[in-house]
């Protein structure tokens, strides 16, 4: 991607500073400008803007944002062009080491040295990091050849090297599924994808298009219990697990391989959120936010995977549109929308973002279910909204748009978000409102 526009001179003060130029940061920059902010700084740690999209060379992006199916780099490129057309300062090869509670942003880059800028609003769009071997605690030896699927993706797609020749993938997250197909296309042997849970962690379409279409076996309720090899991975031991997810070691078997890729989940990259002592949601790992994605510290916003793990880049851009515009509003001294309705996860809902809603606005509520329901499902937001869908699975985020009209009679209330089988919902309706 040819677009680089490394800013060499920084202003002392910006209206909006955006940390991270992936799908969230790029969209936030465009939205902040459209909303009237004139001095906008977009900072990214890589040499070029685009974030993880740069290594996502597969298609499947843009169906929401552009009504068109494009690759990750193309998706990023369209946003980068918009950013550059709007005279945003883009500082690459740069890292924000600290944001103070009075909104001074400390950063470092070879072109600016170690410096700081004042800002009226901040958007945290730093994305997520992958869970590692250390976090899932696989015992055994520690040879070369164990890496996250995202690092392997970077090596293959951005640099043109292979992580190994015989690969086992642990975890069925989307990056793992995408990499299974990617490596097959490179002539690498992909020996199987192993998932601890009884259902895939990645999108259904990826299971079909990346595994099924290439004959790569997906072993559900199965995990890697040991890694062998002193220097380089030589084999792994895998075993099915019982309902409590304990390995059934008597049914274990060995698979010779030279590489283990981990696709075992993403965690919002919350270092700045922690430094700023923002209120965090233990369920998402990201900040608690209002319906404009403002955190517990006024002027600081969070969008994209920094807020919660999204399933599609398009949703990330939509969130960031709201956050970027709201950051501009705050920087320009405009009045904030009321936050007069609370939402909270109810039956079979793992988390809900945002945490409060406004009867002034139309806003999107995003959530994920805990357990899949393969059949008619009722989605409810308190008494304000009720909708029937065909099925819900944890891998796919659910979004619901709620406007002032449906919310206005619920000011001051807390709405529970539920996702329940349609039959059970009918029973509940018959039994009255005991649950409330």
């Amino acid at each position: 991607m040819p677009v680089t526009a490394a800013t060499r001179h920084l202003d002392d003060r910006y209206q909006v500073t955006i940390v991270g130029a992936g799908p969230a940061g790029l969209a936030a920059a465009v939205a902040a400008r459209e909303q009237g902010a004139e001095r906008i700084l977009l900072v990214d740690r890589d040499a070029e803007p685009g974030g993880i999209l740069r290594q996502c060379i597969h298609s499947g992006f843009g169906l929401q944002a552009f009504s068109e199916d494009v690759t990750g780099p193309e998706y990023a490129h369209r946003f980068v062009e918009r950013v550059l057309e709007r005279d945003v300062d883009v500082l690459t090869d740069a890292y924000v080491t600290d944001v103070s509670r009075d909104l001074r942003v400390k950063l470092m880059s070879p072109s600016t040295g170690v410096t700081s800028v004042e800002t009226g609003g901040v958007v945290l769009s730093t994305g997520a990091r992958e869970r590692t071997r250390a976090q899932i605690r696989i015992p055994g030896e520690r040879p070369a050849g164990v890496m996250t699927a995202g690092l392997a993706q970077k090596m293959v797609n951005l640099h043109g090297y292979l992580p190994g020749q015989r690969v086992v993938i642990l975890g069925s997250g989307d990056i793992g599924l995408i990499m299974a197909r990617r490596l097959i296309l490179e002539g690498v042997e992909v020996l199987g994808v192993f998932e601890l849970l009884p259902h895939p962690s990645g999108l259904g379409r990826n299971v079909v298009q990346c595994l099924d279409d290439f004959g790569i076996p997906l072993h559900l309720s199965t995990t890697v219990i040991d890694i062998h090899g002193h220097d380089r991975v030589e084999r792994v031991t895998v075993a099915p697990v019982d309902e409590e997810r304990r390995p059934l070691t008597d049914q274990a078997w060995d698979i010779p391989c030279d590489t283990v890729l981990l696709s075992v989940g993403l965690i919002p990259d919350g270092e700045l959120a922690r430094q700023l002592h923002l209120s965090l949601d233990q369920r998402t790992g990201g900040p608690v936010v209002t319906s404009t994605y403002e955190t517990s510290l006024p002027g600081v916003f969070s969008a994209g995977n920094n807020l919660h793990i999204n399933d599609l880049a398009d949703w990330v851009s939509q969130e960031a549109n709201v956050a970027g515009a709201a950051a501009a509003d705050v920087a320009l001294g405009r009045v904030r929308a009321r936050q007069d309705v609370a939402v909270t996860p109810g039956t079979n809902v793992r988390y809900v973002v945002p945490h409060t809603l406004s009867t002034d606005l139309t806003q999107t509520v995003s959530f994920r279910v805990k357990e899949p329901i393969y059949g008619d499902t009722i989605l409810r937001v308190g008494e304000a909204h009720r909708r029937k869908v065909r099925a819900v699975v944890p891998a796919e985020m659910v979004t619901i748009k709620l406007g002032p009209k449906v919310l206005e009679s619920f000011a001051g209330e807390t709405l529970r978000v539920d996702a329940i089988p349609a039959a059970a919902a009918d029973d509940l309706a018959a039994a009255g409102d005991d649950e409330q």
Binding site: R45, D93, Y95, T97, K106, M108, S109, P110, S111, T112, G113, V114, T115, R129, E130, T132, R133, A134, Q135, R137, P139, G140, E141, R142, P143, A144, G145, M147, T148, G150, L151, K154, M155, V156, H159, G160, Y161, L162, P163, G164, Q165, I184, L185, E186, G187, E189, V190, L191, F214, G215, I216, H230, D231, R232, E271
Partner: protein
């Protein structure tokens, strides 16, 4: 190095013992070579342990290890001043959970007093909980020993080896000694000839500091009279969230076989718990286990109930090179010129600087002439730790050299300039960089910095990036992609 060239001393093994000896010998006008079998110095026993310079109360003064412990503690403090590795005198709290243990820990304190360890104090339960409020309420009392320190042993050993190199010691890695020529019957003064896979090393003296493999080296020299029994210790590092849960090294009252499970702050501020103590057969067995974790956390929670295995961010296991005599085996052997420094188990790391001085004396007694160099430099430029500097210091450095403003590892805030300095000091593998600079040790475990580190290694070593390794031979990281049509694979179908 011609066939006829004879070195004065070849040190077999680049761990704490070998490196401190190399540095001690570097002050004299000598030709010294250090041969390390692995890819980097400190990558054996010295890398994987609790990282403690012991208070020096614990080991009996009737043993050699006990006698070297306190002088070694002082030696590390001097090296810390001279070379600038991290070392934090956090002190030790030796905890008693019942009356019997109270008596036992006082006996240990008295032993420390006899060994000249200053500053120890018996503490009441109240005093103990006042100093360490997160300890178990079951505490009956403790002994405080301010002499104990924490450090990163690999960082310290790497900088000690670097100081030796700066003063003329030749350091060769990936040079395992695989054969030693038998003695020449008609020439008692003939040099020892050590063979590594790629070279022969002729030397007047060889010091056997080969750690776990010291018995194998003695065997090669024809003088084996001991056995090394590897004793495994598993260690668990906890999330920074728990920083400060204890501020000193928390020791349980020891049992006859082990000092027990410790809970200690590391020099980097994280909390470490461990080790286990399990005798194993395999000198390469550094596996961690479910059972080991269960034992460590069960023991640790008796001391510090707030600790949980949910907070583990990294785990590793190391092997202690325990000899069948349970003490250090140090001194000349029947093979002229072949000197043992074997069985260096705990507190061997602590004792290493004192053991080095002892070995210099032994070499002198055996006929090595020691002439001090005029230009010996005991100090070396201290490595910059950018993350620990003030903003003003960071700004000044970055203004002088923009490579201090180019971040490589974002979790631990390690800059390109620090990576390049580590390369200049001899790092030549990914793990070598990691253990010198902390790049890759943080939350994302190398997800971000692996590639830039590999690029800087390839550039510095002037090799294709596919030849960069994790930790030397066999630990390859990536493969060249083959230009080929879309594969029809055997797994397809």
């Amino acid at each position: 190095m011609g066939q006829g060239h004879v070195h004065d001393v070849v040190i077999i093994g680049g761990g704490a013992t070998g490196a401190t000896l190399a540095r001690a010998l570097s002050r004299f006008d000598l030709d010294v070579v250090l041969l390390e079998a692995t890819a980097e110095v400190a990558f054996g026993v010295s890398k994987a342990n609790s990282g403690i310079v012991h208070s020096a109360m614990h080991a009996s003064p009737d043993t050699l290890k006990g006698r070297l412990e306190y002088p070694g503690n002082l030696g590390w403090r001097t090296l810390h001043e001279e070379l600038g590795f991290g070392l934090n005198p956090v002190g030790e709290v030796l905890v008693a959970l019942d009356d019997q243990q109270l008596t036992k820990i006082e006996t240990i304190r008295q032993q420390g007093v006899r060994k000249g360890v200053p500053g120890t104090e018996p503490w009441t339960a109240e005093r103990t909980l006042d100093a360490q409020p997160n300890l178990s309420r079951e505490v009956k009392g403790a002994v405080w020993a301010p002499t104990a320190c924490v450090f990163n042993p690999y960082e310290a050993v790497m900088l000690v080896a670097d100081a030796a190199r700066r003063n003329g010691v030749r350091i060769e890695v990936e040079q395992p000694v695989i054969a030693i020529d038998p003695p020449t019957p008609d020439d008692a003064g003939a040099p020892l000839v050590l063979h590594t896979p790629t070279a022969a090393w002729r030397t007047r003296f060889a010091v056997n500091a080969a750690g776990l493999f010291a018995d194998d080296m003695a065997e090669l020299a024809g003088v084996r009279d001991f056995t090394i029994l590897p004793r495994k210790g598993e260690e668990y590092l906890l999330d920074k969230r728990l920083s400060g849960v204890v501020t000193s090294i928390i020791f349980p009252c020891p049992t006859p076989v082990s000092k027990g499970t410790l809970v200690n702050p590391t020099v980097d501020g994280t909390i470490m718990v461990g080790p286990t103590a399990q005798t194993v057969d395999d000198k390469y067995d550094t596996t961690t286990s479910e059972a080991g974790a269960a034992q460590v956390f069960s023991n640790a929670r008796k001391l510090v109930p707030a600790i949980s295995d949910r907070d583990v961010i990294a785990e590793f296991a190391g092997l202690r090179p325990v000899s069948d005599t349970e003490d250090f085996i140090v001194g000349p052997t029947e093979r002229p010129g072949f000197i043992n420094a074997a069985g260096i188990q705990s507190p061997g790391l602590t004792g290493a600087p004192a053991l080095a001085d002892m070995l210099v004396d032994i070499l002198a007694d055996e006929g090595l002439a020691l002439t001090e160099k005029a230009d010996w430099d005991p100090t070396a430029p201290h490595p910059v730790k950018f993350a620990q500097l003030s903003t003003d210091q960071q700004r000044d450095l970055a203004a002088r050299d923009p490579r201090y403003a180019q971040l490589v590892c974002r979790c631990e805030i390690v800059t390109e300039a620090e990576i390049r300095d580590a390369l200049e000091r001899g790092a030549h593998t990914l793990d070598g960089l990691k253990f010198r600079t902390r790049a890759g040790m943080g939350r994302c475990q190398g997800g971000f910095c692996t590639w830039p580190c590999m690029q800087l290694l390839a550039e510095h070593l002037d090799v294709p990036i596919t030849e960069v390794t994790k930790r030397g031979r066999g630990t390859w990281l990536i493969r060249e992609r083959e230009d080929q049509p879309v594969a029809t694979t055997s797994t397809g179908g």
